[in-house]
């Protein structure tokens, strides 16, 4: 009987290591997928925000046009739980000459430049936004050869593109 008590501890030591590894991996993968999905949603929301604020927002007495700041704020508030200081976002215009890079997103929050400028805000012109979110994960601790044991960083991508509607 005494012999068996010892073997339980040894067995747990053997099984416990892969068990804890599987547990932490599951949690971290889920957390990563959550962030990937949240970012995709936020980038999509950002594009949608721009495509309904095209050329007609600056004509006929309308003043509903978007600025880099309002777009960045809209993306940041749609990305619940994402930190805007570790989130790189780029805005791409139809002509390619009015692209804006927000590295990180927090640097664009108070940018009052109207975007996209004419003629990139014409109906039918495309608007694209890409994002890259830095995800700090405990998965990196298990990566062989990574010393000292530390959290790894992974970049989660997101991209959305739509044509201006209004």
């Amino acid at each position: 009987m005494r012999d068996q008590k010892g073997s339980v501890t040894v067995e747990f030591a053997l099984v416990g290591i892969p068990l804890i590894f599987a547990l932490i991996s599951t949690v971290e993968m889920s957390r990563g997928m959550w962030m990937y999905d949240t970012q995709a949603h936020a980038i999509n929301e950002g594009v949608r925000y721009v495509v309904v604020r095209g050329q007609h927002c600056t004509s006929g007495g309308n003043a509903c046009g978007a600025t880099v700041g309002t777009i960045a704020t809209h993306i940041a508030s749609a990305g619940v739980g994402l930190v805007s200081s570790q989130w790189n976002v780029s805005l791409y215009s139809n002509s390619g000459s009015n692209n804006i890079t927000c590295n990180p997103l927090s640097s664009c929050l108070s940018n009052s430049t109207a975007w996209p400028p004419s003629p990139d805000n014409n109906v039918g012109a495309y608007v694209a936004i890409s994002g890259s979110y830095t995800f700090n994960s405990a998965l990196g601790m298990f990566w062989p050869g990574l010393k000292p044991v530390t959290f790894g960083t992974y970049n989660l991508p997101a991209y959305a593109k739509q044509a201006i509607q209004f």
């Binding site: 012999d3 068996q4 073997s7 067995e11 997928m33 999509n44 109906v123 039918g124 495309y126 694209a128 991508p157 997101a158 991209y159 959305a160 593109k161 739509q162 044509a163 509607q165």
Partner: protein, 139 residues
């Protein structure tokens, strides 16, 4: 007694391991397939949003292609390699149709063929063809 029980646990593990392996494969495959289903749906909707913007674009398959590919850009077999939508893995067709309300509409069909994954015989295929169709009223 002791040696007998030790044998038991090894046997148990041997019996349980294939089940555990298939559980992992199933979760992995379904995870990717679910992602692909959502991405294909988004691609069709994004493309239809563009084609429905005017009667001139209602049947613009190549225009629809660029919007559909933008949504599928993170798929491993699309990223950086696919630029056209006339053959596998991505097929996009846009057509002018009459909508349910009798007015002009645009219909976009997107078919995405997933990468090869590990199959579970008779339960999960290694590859899936996903088709999503979206119809939108022409503005």
């Amino acid at each position: 007694m002791r040696s007998k029980r030790k044998g038991h646990s090894v046997m148990e593990l041997a019996l349980f391991l294939p089940f555990l392996l298939f559980l992992f494969i199933g979760a992995f495959d379904w995870g990717f397939y679910s992602w692909a289903l959502i991405a294909t749906q988004s691609a069709a909707r994004s493309a239809a949003l563009y084609t429905s913007s005017s009667s001139a674009t209602a049947a613009d398959s190549s225009g629809a292609c660029t919007y559909a590919l933008a949504e599928l850009t993170n798929a491993p077999n699309v990223f950086g390699s696919v630029t056209t939508c006339s053959a596998s893995p991505v097929t996009v067709t846009a057509t002018s149709v009459t909508g349910a309300d009798g007015t002009a509409a645009s219909q976009v069909s997107v078919t995405y063929q997933t990468i090869n994954l590990i199959p579970i015989p008779s339960l999960l295929p290694s590859q899936m063809n996903i088709t999503r169709v979206v119809q939108m009223k022409v503005q």
